[in-house]
Assembly symmetry: C2
Homo-oligomer: 493 residues x 2
């Protein structure tokens, strides 16, 4: 239905984006924010039509899609507000000290946009992490033109959202090339976009294979560029004995809900639950199994994902020492993922790295450790994760410092007595984590701090007030926070 | 004299550093700052002995070395102060909203250290960018253990400074492994350090070849790690006609001084000066040549650097269309670099990328463009730079937006009517720039913002006040700036 862009078309697009970059970066923070708010309005205006298209392409339920669009609109508005507030610019000013030896010059620094950013939409978030999603919003706030490659699993959804963005760009009288939408089911389109000399950064949400490939291409360039790839994880939940003793039923219900939410198609899905062998753990496993049996299977995003879920789950269940605990008792249709819980011992898990792999879908494995030492070993042997969760009493946190420190080493968000699914959009959210959760643990893809992925500092030395950008002028006309001679303030110089 | 560390020794060191990491990261900001201040005192205590050793190993003059040590002490103290102030933690708090649908959890985020950092010292800054230099100070402030590989050109200097750091660690009762010093003239030592699984980041200052190799190794790891390599640049100076008309003599004197400062061995050395063909430019070239003739050659750091300077300069002068303008008239000794100015047309420069390469030493080439359009073309064709300079009147800046924007694209520090040498240590300094100036334009190696190279955000979700780190507790016991529900403040929650 949609043709892949040719290399010549991609070259034209990037040249146009590069030209637009020089105009767009001069737009004030307020103008950028207004553009983002206009996109939010246009996205709202896509109405039922967009929901219908997305339902057909993604098999996600209507309520979820309406909720996700609302979240996408919230993201655009909240990042617009953060863009305008300007804290992310990290403006810093040191005024001149002419009588120092040698004389200290006037120096003023702020973040400026990197240039055209390629955004690869995610299949599991057709709105919030696709065409007008978090990466696009962050790049536009930073002052970067965006080229979105539509996810081939929802091209018409992407096309419809792209039209909304272009309508907003038109209303805000932005230059052509600030936003571009391309299709490309082939490997070559993605590569051509990442390798183009005028591409300055990449945002991606998806599989390890996809993200790592983009990262490798970007580093093979004559001029390497930053890639922020969020590649998912298995989000371990550690169950501590005292807490399990008093709240087993509640914990089992929480886990069952989190494992199966959205057919398990969240990057924060808990694919691993770790406890210590005991009667309470057996009760927990029994309760979790019972709960899973009662949860009906749900349609997954596309046939490729259903196939992959079946294959990966099947392979995991065939690994030595892995036992099936329970499956949903509702008969499963061809396009659905069957909620499933497995179990194995800590020893088996430590011996077999295959069990550390993500099984994308409504599946989780409960690991039964011999004792707390084995649980700590499991934590130490885990790969980088977006999140890790402890279910524990306050006393248990205080008494198990080695475990807490080992878990801290592997995650970007550390949850106590909650579940990892449900990623709040706010400044203090961190959606990132050590590799392979992401390609750079120092950045986030949720929350307005994600803007900083697409910006770099530039220091102005010895520029007169008249020539400096408004963000750095003596009078602080934008009324933003700046570090002035080592002190955070809104004061003028 | 100093033996290379073996792979087994490196493995032991990294394991010790990893163990120390778990202790050291719990040290308060004040304790880390006290450690850094104690290093500064111990470095001061190395007295004349250190200066003598460094003079012998680097051939740098005494005054320069005393100045550089003072700068290193200043860095340690000023980064200690920034460490304690805590702005760099980017602490952010969003308090819970239980009656939201779904309920919003309590979320609190701050930067935490990455883990053991390998620092490769620079040959041209035996103190300020070596053993106790900027990278070490930043990593220690972040809470990371440091392993310094001594630069093979000044191993005894490095060893002496390392002893000062270890004495400070002892006085502050730090665990073994917070600081480690290794020697390694061979390629293999560097590789083993970067490839070790417990290494979490790398800091480097030096050549493109060296830095790019470390970057490639780090990305080839099963778990890639961030490398901040500052690889130098040619720091173009653009001369605009009106300013040249009124200040030619002053500009020639400034350029001559900057090109030959420290035998041209600064990463901010201006190796490229671009003007527009005119009588005034001829006068400038003549004056610059005259000034260079009067400047005596100085000893370079080590025989390898002298050899490389001669070879690269010789090759540049043999390129088609490149003409010698002037050399120092003082006879040059074997260990010295001869101050030299060459010239070529804009056309020649645009055709020959070999002329864009850094010639490390007291050499610069003046490019004579036909007109402003050719000058803009030169700017557009330049690689990433640490700095770029405009010498221009205020009116010329306003009238030449295309040039200003093109130059902005390629640099990390943008200087007006000054020279790039002289890198002020302060928060608003940016010492970084687009590749190949550095491997990541989003970070700096000068100024306390360099701490952020070695830290990553961690979000705590739903932790009680008693369990949270002091930085994030309700009462704000450390009295640091935090973004509380979207507002920068020192207020308690």
């Amino acid at each position: 239905m949609f043709k892949d862009s040719t290399p010549a078309e991609i070259d034209t697009m990037l040249n146009q984006a590069w030209k637009a970059f020089h105009e767009y970066r001069k737009y004030s923070l307020k103008q950028r924010a207004d553009f983002m708010r206009t996109i939010a309005i246009e996205l709202e205006n896509t109405g039922d039509a967009l929901i219908q298209i997305a339902m057909r392409e993604t098999h996600l339920p209507e309520a979820r899609l309406r909720g996700e669009r609302a979240r996408t609109i919230f993201q655009l508005n909240s990042y617009a507000q953060a863009c305008e507030r300007g804290d992310w610019l990290e403006a810093k000013i040191d005024t001149a000290i002419p009588d120092k030896t040698p004389p200290k010059p006037d120096l003023r620094k702020m973040l400026i946009p990197l240039g055209p950013v390629i955004v690869f939409g995610a299949s599991n978030f057709p709105f919030a992490y696709s065409t007008a999603g978090g990466d696009t919003a962050c790049a536009l706030a930073a002052g970067c033109p965006v080229i979105v490659k539509a996810h081939p699993a929802h091209p018409e959804t992407s096309e419809t959202v792209a039209r909304a963005i272009l309508a907003a760009a038109d209303k805000c009288k932005l230059p052509n090339g600030v936003f571009t939408h391309v299709h490309g089911a082939s490997f070559e389109t993605g590569k051509a976009l990442v390798m183009h000399p005028l591409t300055k950064a990449v945002g991606f949400t998806g599989s390890y294979t996809g993200g790592k490939q983009l990262f490798d291409w970007a580093n093979e360039r004559t001029v390497p560029i930053p890639v922020f790839a969020e590649m998912g994880s298995i989000n371990p939940i550690f169950l501590l004995p005292e807490r399990l003793q008093v709240a087993s039923a509640e914990m089992a219900a929480q886990c069952a809900g989190s494992v199966t939410l959205g057919a398990g198609q969240f990057c924060t899905n808990p694919g691993l639950i770790i406890g210590i062998e005991s009667e309470a753990l057996q009760t927990f496993i029994h309760d979790l199994g019972k709960a899973i049996q009662q949860i009906a299977p749900a349609a997954m995003l596309h046939p490729g994902i259903v196939r992959s879920y079946k294959e990966k789950k099947g392979a995991a269940l065939l690994e030595e020492g892995v036992h099936l605990v329970a499956e949903s008792e509702t008969p499963v249709k061809e396009d659905e993922g069957l909620p499933t819980i497995a179990t194995a011992t800590g020893k088996i898990f430590l011996q077999n790295p295959a069990l550390h792999q993500e099984v994308f879908g409504p599946y989780s494995i409960v690991i039964r450790c011999q004792d707390i030492h084995e649980m700590i070993e499991v934590a130490k042997h885990l790969e980088g994760q977006l999140t890790a969760t402890l279910m524990a009493t306050e006393q248990e946190i205080k008494e198990n410092e080695s475990l807490v420190e080992a878990v801290k080493n592997i995650c970007g968000r550390f949850i106590l007595n909650g579940v990892p699914t449900g990623v709040e959009v706010c400044l203090s959210m961190h959606h990132g984590g050590p590799f392979p959760a992401t390609t750079d643990s120092r950045f986030t893809s949720v929350g307005a701090d994600g803007i900083k992925r697409f910006a770099r500092p530039l220091a102005f030395q010895n520029w007169s007030d008249a020539l400096l950008p408004n963000e750095l002028k003596n009078g602080n006309p934008l009324d933003i926070y700046r570090t002035l001679n080592d002190k955070l303030t809104k004061d003028p110089c």
